[in-house]
């Protein structure tokens, strides 16, 4: 174990019941199996046990778009990687220290990521000749020496599970289904995880089928006992809680999509406006629709529309009516919504457009991550149609980013893009639960009466008379007497909002809409430059925060001076950004696209920003980023 994966530090060793227990500072585990093997559930449970134990953690679920790809094939492999530690960590880890492979396909698909010396637990029952041939193995890797250098634990997981469940009167096939719980029990023993949570979870999940609940619990316990008794597992590991890494408070584990959903509910409460979600199912955004539809007792209305266009259309209609309106989607859905976003720009109504980015173009990679919708969010509309863009940087940060996007939308009466991605959406981390009274006040005032006096002294309501500071127009909702007015997508006369084709008016309105967005109050960029003498600034946005920060830490630990900054606001950009960029000899922009932010920075600030990109559907690995940054430093 000591040489496997990223260097692990063994800080102490003790002996329990005749077996050695080693203390580690962190571990990366990857569960891999067929899409039907329950690997995501297994990973979720191990994560939950780990969270309640108090480790810091970061997860990376990775699964195919197909619900059940053909069994035993490489495209059908689903995996879940979890990194947990006794200190503050930032990424789900580059390479696993432990791989659990439920079948030959899972082993083959993941082996290249596993460094020599790592532990591999394989379900030997699945290593039949036929199953191995399916993935192109003529001989068994368990026997032909190809796993030399790994610490392999061959375990007949299916047989052991069936044996453990023989009193349950289940068919071999049904009993075998619990093998993921056996594996979870084994790993839980190996890493001294608390088990009560998983048992309670199984009882509640199968509340209507107590036999199945009991069988799964039995399999889970059998896995634990197997670890404790078998000689093959001579060593178990402890990773102490990461208490010192966290500020005091109450914590929970949370995924990006859940945090984002909660952020929307919280924004609705803080704005004192009902939440209205118009949405059409699309991976990886659908979980937000599912989650919000559970919270009708918060006054949340969820509308599953006939298509993406109707999803945003209904949201815009609800915004006109005075709701905090949201539409959720992924890249292809944004393409369909573009025309309505343009209308929202013209109507100047608050609207949140949540884009959980995935690999593109077109259908692309529905279950994999990418950051390639930045320019679509910035410019993907006809005409001059500026839209603010906000991006969360970690799963838990999706909560705060949703509140911030709502603040901008409500205060400036504009559609706002919230750009999350598949990695943040499905990944999870500990979250310090905020006190409700710490949350920002998002209340806005609807227009109540006339806001303009005509030359003849008549008091009238002008729907496009702007607030002098924010340039926002009044939000006058139907039902308000005396403020009846008409708005639309045709160019409007400044002030009155009446249709106007006047050239000078159009020029004025285009520039005013731009000025409104440019003038949005966003905080200055904070640059982290501890030594103060860095020549290199690494700047990113969105979900690359974890890997970039981990890479920068490595460089600093090796004595390098590196400055780091991360953008939450992509439009408008922070006011001090140009100045900060100009202070550094080198600026590197790592992105999971082909250089979209770096293009914006170069265009806007005439800075020689260098792009470092990856578009393989996976987050950056810290080591690889560190190496790339090191090369920039060495080039000097």
């Amino acid at each position: 174990m000591t040489s496997g994966g990223e260097a692990l530090r063994t800080s102490a060793t003790r002996t329990v019941q005749g077996k050695e227990v080693r203390r580690l500072d962190r571990v990366i585990i990857r569960f891999a199996g067929d899409s039907g093997d329950g690997m995501q559930l297994t990973g979720d449970r191990f994560t939950s046990e780990t969270a309640s134990f108090g480790n810091d953690l970061s997860t990376l679920p990775n699964f195919p778009a197909e619900i059940r790809a053909p069994a035993g094939t490489l495209p059908g492999v689903s995996s879940f990687q979890l990194h947990f530690a006794d200190h503050d960590i930032l990424t789900p880890g580059d390479a696993p220290n432990v791989l659990v492979a439920m079948n030959p396909a899972a082993l083959k698909a993941n082996l290249a990521d596993v460094p020599r010396g790592a532990e591999i637990i394989v379900n030997t029952d699945e290593f039949t000749k036929r199953a191995m041939q399916k993935v192109g193995w003529d001989t068994s890797p368990l026997e032909d020496g190809s796993l030399e250098g790994f610490h392999v634990h061959p375990v007949p997981l299916t047989t052991l599970t069936v044996e453990a469940l023989k009193e349950f009167e289940l068919s071999r096939k049904d009993a075998g289904r619990s093998k993921n719980m056996f594996a979870l029990g084994l790993l839980s023993w190996m890493y001294h995880r608390p088990t009560e949570g998983t048992e309670a979870f199984l009882r509640s999940k199968f509340a209507k089928k107590p036999d199945i609940a009991a069988a799964n619990i039995a399999a889970f316990r059998a896995g634990w006992n197997f670890g404790e008794t078998t000689e093959d597992f001579a060593v178990s590991y402890e990773v102490a809680p990461a208490a010192s890494a966290f500020p005091t408070g109450t914590y929970r584990n949370i995924s990006g999509n859940l945090a984002l959903s909660y952020g929307l509910v919280a924004a609705s409460r803080q704005a004192d406006l009902p939440l209205y979600l118009g949405s059409y199912p699309i991976t990886p955004a659908s979980d937000i629709l599912h989650e919000l539809s559970k919270h009708k007792n918060f006054g949340v209305r969820t509308f599953q529309a006939e298509d993406e266009i109707a999803g945003i259309g209904a949201a815009l209609g609800a915004a006109f009516g005075g709701s905090l309106a949201v539409t959720t989607t992924s890249g292809p859905g944004v393409a369909l919504k573009s025309e309505t976003i343009g209308l929202a720009v013209s109507l100047e109504l608050p609207l949140l457009v949540v884009d959980i980015q995935r690999g593109g173009p077109s259908t692309g990679l529905p279950t994999k991550t990418e950051q390639a919708d930045l320019l679509q969010a910035m410019f993907g509309r006809n005409g001059e149609a500026p839209v603010p863009v906000v991006a969360p940087k970690t799963p838990a940060d999706c909560f705060d980013a949703a509140l911030e996007a709502a603040r901008i939308a409500l205060e400036y009466r504009t559609p706002v893009f919230l750009l999350s991605d598949g990695y943040l959406a499905n990944g999870s981390e500990p979250w310090r639960i905020p006190e409700v009274d710490e949350l920002p006040d998002l209340r806005v005032q609807f227009a109540q009466g006339p806001n303009h006096t005509l030359e003849d002294g008549t008091e009238v309501f002008w729907p496009y008379k702007r607030d002098e500071r924010t340039l926002a127009r009044p939000w006058a909702v139907p039902g308000t007497p005396g403020l009846e007015h008409r708005i639309g997508g045709i160019e409007k006369q400044d002030g009155t909002g009446n249709i106007s084709y006047d050239p000078a008016n159009h020029e004025f309105m285009v520039r005013t809409r731009q000025a409104k967005i440019d003038g949005i109050d966003v905080p200055d960029l904070a640059v982290d430059d501890p030594s103060g003498d860095a020549q290199l600034l690494v700047i990113g946005w969105g979900s690359t925060y974890g890997p970039i920060t981990a890479a920068v830490r490595r460089l600093r630990a090796a004595g390098r001076s590196v400055a780091q900054a991360h953008l939450r606001h992509l439009n408008p950009l922070p006011g001090n950004l140009g100045e900060e960029l100009a202070r550094y000899e080198h600026v590197v922009v790592p992105e999971m696209n082909l250089g979209q932010l770096s293009m914006l920075l170069r265009a806007k600030y005439l800075v020689d920003a260098r792009s470092y990109t990856q578009v393989n559907g996976m987050p950056f690995k810290a080591e690889q980023l560190a190496t790339a940054l090191e090369e920039v430093l060495h080039a000097d």
Binding site: T248, T250, G313, A314, G317
Partner: protein, 350 residues
């Protein structure tokens, strides 16, 4: 202070100059709608007109209510969001044959099946007006237009048949020039809980003039128009319902016992009892659909007007609101702090 009632037609006229072509059928519809609005008994701040794009979709600018002129085809979707979040409002959609049936076809059918509380006025002039004269999804086969110099090869939609097929709970047809009939249909649509689709035959005097002349010319209309009235036998023709028995060309609609389909027959003493009595409230849309197929799409002979179908069905906005109430009954009013905390937490102390 809410607007004081009652209101008059004048209260519903906005200060904007109406910019349709002189002679356009839209003027008559606008006048009829403005004339009818006071009958709703609603303050004008509680009424919203939402439209898409096209000549007819300029309608909201001329109504002194709340209004939105949106984008092509999307008015039913936008209005659905408004109506379902604000059940207190009276929401009207104004659309055309291109807007509702071509680019916005999907939204129209889904609004109808959901039974959102929307009153949809579909101005059908069987042509694209604002883009200057291309054939529309209701244009007859063979129509020569700018985009079909050799005649259109597209089979048209029958909007009433389409709406009935889409589970509409209220479907009616009327004509721009018949103010009385138009107002009567608006009245019934307004009273209907749920989505009401009103197809209004509307003359485009620039690109498709006299398209409905056969229904408007008094003499031709006698043979062409079938006026549907709930509870009345479906008869028409020069004979008229008041004519002595057996007189003139009095015609009626009967069901063919062999095929089950409807057909037009001369009314005789022998078949008088077999003349179909119109039942707009029938649970099954079958007969309403058969009625919608009587008209010849080319000549418009045997065109029924009036309310084809008006049945009670749960209204979407109400169902949505009921679920919110039920959720509060079951789980109590949402507690944000409890939601954020969840069931699985740990505490870090100093």
């Amino acid at each position: 202070m809410p607007t004081e009632l009652p209101l008059t037609a004048k209260d519903f006229k906005s200060d904007q100059e109406v910019r349709w072509c002189p002679g356009c059928g839209d003027y008559a519809i606008l006048a009829a709608v403005q004339g009818f609005m006071p009958e709703l008994g609603l303050a004008k701040e509680n009424i919203v007109f939402v439209s898409g794009i096209g000549c007819s979709s300029r309608f909201p600018y001329y109504m002194n209510t709340y209004g939105m002129h949106s984008i092509h085809g999307r008015a039913p979707a936008i209005a659905t969001g408004l109506a379902s979040s604000r059940p207190d409002l009276s929401v009207w959609v104004v659309t055309g044959d291109g807007d509702a049936l071509s680019i916005g076809g999907n939204h129209l059918i889904h609004a109808l099946r959901r039974n959102v509380n929307l009153k949809i006025l579909l101005f059908n002039n069987r042509i694209y007006g604002l883009t200057k004269g291309q054939y529309s999804p209701t244009s007859e086969v063979g129509k020569i237009t700018k985009s079909t110099p050799m005649g259109s090869v597209d089979a048209p939609f029958n909007p009433v048949s389409l709406a009935l097929g889409a589970e509409a709970s209220f479907v009616a047809r009327t004509v721009d020039s018949d103010r009385k009939h138009l107002t009567d249909v608006l009245r019934q649509a307004a009273a209907h809980p749920g989505t009401a689709l009103v197809e209004i035959y509307q003359n485009c005097n620039i690109f498709n003039d006299n398209a409905f002349e056969v229904l408007k010319d008094k003499q031709q209309a006698e043979e062409a128009v079938i006026r549907l009235e709930h509870g009345q036998p479906i008869t028409f023709g020069a004979g008229g319902t008041s004519r002595p028995e057996g007189g003139g060309n009095h015609k009626g609609v009967v069901r063919n016992p062999q095929t089950g389909d409807l057909e037009v027959v001369p009314v005789t003493d022998d078949n008088r009892t077999q003349i179909l009595v119109h039942d707009a409230h029938a649970a099954s849309p079958t007969t309403a659909f058969a009625l919608s197929r009587l008209a010849d799409p080319d000549t418009l002979h045997h065109t029924p007007i009036g309310v084809f179908r008006a049945t009670d069905r749960p209204v979407y906005d109400r169902l949505m609101a009921d679920q919110l109430d039920a959720a509060i009954d079951q789980n109590g009013k949402g507690d944000l702090s409890a939601l954020l905390t969840g069931n699985d937490t740990w505490t870090v102390k100093e």
